[in-house]
Symmetry: C2
Subunit: 250 residues, 2 copies
C-alpha cells in the first residue's frame, strides 16, 4: 500500500520529512525538506502539502513550514511519555528546589537515552541535554542507569558497538563498562564524573513502574560538588514518582 519503488512506505516518508526538523532547524521550505530527507522534490512537495492540510505542519506567509501544534497534540495526548512526565514533574521540581541544578528525566529509545524533561535552575551550570534530545547510553549517567537495567541482548549490542568518547573521560572500554553497569545495578545509582563534559558530573537513579525500570531521573552537578545530597534528593523523588505511577495505573 502506497509503497514507492524503493519499498519504503508512506509512513516511512512522512517520518523522513518530520526527521528533518530539529531545534536548530525548525523552519524549512519543501525543497529543503526534500533535499534533507533524500526525497524527490515533487514527492516532498506532495507530502508537505498533505501534512499542512492535516495540520501536522503549518505554513508561514513565506511558504516555509514548521511542525504544527496539531502534531504536538496528537503525539502527546495519549502518550506514555506524557504520563511519565506528569507523574515526575512535581517531584523533579522538588529536586530542583533543593539541589538547584539541572534535573532531567530520560527513557531508553532506539539504543539511546531520550530526554523527556529537563528543569534548569537559573544558576545551574553547563548542560548539553535538552528536551527531546538524546545522549549515548554509555556516556551519560541516565544512559548508564537505563543500560544497566536493559534486556541483556540490548546491553550486549550496545557494548559491542563502537563506544564514542563524548569527552576525554567517557568510558569507552566495554569490559570496564560491564563492571560499572553491575555496580550501578547493585548500588542503585550511577555517577558519571566528566563523562559528558569535564566541568560536570551526572548522577542518575532508576524509576520503576510495575517492577520494570522505565526511566532514569538525573541531576547534572558542577564537577566539584559532592553527589550525596543529590542522590538523597533523587531517591526521595523516585519514591514519590513511583507512587504517582502506581496510583495512575488504577
Amino acid at each position: 500500500m502506497a509503497n514507492s519503488p524503493s519499498g519504503d512506505s508512506m509512513t516511512d516518508r512522512i517520518v523522513r520529512v518530520l526527521e528533518t526538523f530539529t531545534a536548530e532547524r525548525s523552519m524549512q521550505s519543501a525543497s529543503e525538506i526534500g533535499r534533507r530527507a533524500g526525497l524527490p522534490s515533487s514527492t516532498a512537495h506532495r507530502i508537505v502539502d498533505e501534512l499542512v492540510a492535516a495540520g501536522l505542519l503549518e505554513r508561514d506567509e513565506d511558504r516555509r513550514v514548521h511542525l504544527g501544534m496539531r502534531l504536538w497534540e496528537l503525539a502527546l495526548r495519549g502518550s506514555t511519555a506524557l504520563r511519565l512526565r506528569q507523574a515526575a514533574l512535581p517531584h523533579m521540581e522538588a529536586v530542583q528546589a533543593l539541589i538547584r541544578e539541572h534535573t532531567q528525566l530520560a527513557v531508553l529509545e532506539q539504543d539511546e537515552a531520550l530526554f523527556l524533561e529537563r528543569l534548569s535552575h537559573p544558576d545551574a551550570g553547563a548542560n548539553i541535554t535538552r528536551v527531546a534530545g538524546r545522549l549515548p547510553l554509555h556516556a551519560s549517567s541516565s544512559g548508564i542507569v537505563l543500560l544497566a537495567h536493559a534486556p541483556g541482548e540490548l546491553r550486549d549490542r550496545v557494548l559491542a558497538s563502537p563506544l564514542r568518547a563524548v569527552s576525554p573521560e567517557t568510558v569507552t572500554d566495554a569490559a570496564r563498562l560491564r563492571r560499572i553497569l553491575a555496580e550501578v545495578r547493585r548500588a542503585g545509582v550511577a555517577v558519571a564524573p566528566g563523562w559528558i563534559e569535564s566541568v560536570s558530573t551526572g548522577v542518575a537513579v532508576p524509576i520503576r513502574d510495575a517492577g520494570e525500570v522505565v526511566a532514569a531521573l538525573s541531576v547534572v552537578l558542577p564537577r566539584e560538588a559532592p553527589p550525596e545530597p543529590a542522590i538523597t534528593a533523587l531517591r526521595a523523588a523516585v519514591r514519590d514518582i513511583e507512587l504517582a505511577l502506581r496510583a495512575d495505573r488504577r
Copy 2:
C-alpha cells in the same frame, strides 16, 4: 498519491488512527482503532503495522499498541510548542511558587484553546484542564485572551457558532462576549469566575512574541480568592517569558 477511493490521503488516515488515542484510551488493538477511526479493518491493520515499523506506535506482548516515544520525539524536537513551553516553564514555576495554584500555558489551535503546559500545586483546587487537552475559546480565561487577540474573522466565526455552556455561569451571549473581549484587550487580563467550574475562577494574560499574541498564561484560583495577586504574578512572568522568547529569536 496514496489516496483512497473516498479521497482522503494516507496522511489523513494516519491522523485518524492517531486521533483515536486519548489520555483515557492510551492502549488499543488495531481492530479497535479501525472501528474508532472509521477505517476498514484491513486498512487499520496495515496502517498500524506501518506505524509500528516506523516506531510511531509501539506494540505490547498482547499486541495492543500505544503511542511511541519516537512520535513524541519527532513532534517535539523542532516544535514551536516546545520553544514556547521551554521559554515559559521557569517563569510558570515562579508563578506557581507564589500563588500555589494551577498555572497553565495555552495556545489557539483549530478554534479552541490547546493547553501546552500545566503545573499543579499539590494543595491546588479543582481543575479540568490537562496538558494536550482543549477548552472552548469562549468559556476559559485562556480562551478569552486568545479570542480577544485572534484575527477578526476567527472571532466572528467563533461568536457566530453555538456557544456551549460548560457551567451555568459560562457566558454564551455573543453580544456580551464581544463587550468582554473588548474589555480584555483594553485591560490586558481576562477574569472568568465560574465559567468552567463554579468553584473556580480563571485568570489569564496574553504572551506576545514579535508583536503578536502567541499564547495565554493563566492560573485557576478558588472562586473566593482575590485575583489581584495572581494578575501581578502573571504579568511579571509574562515580561520574563517575552524576554526569553526574544533572546531565543536571535
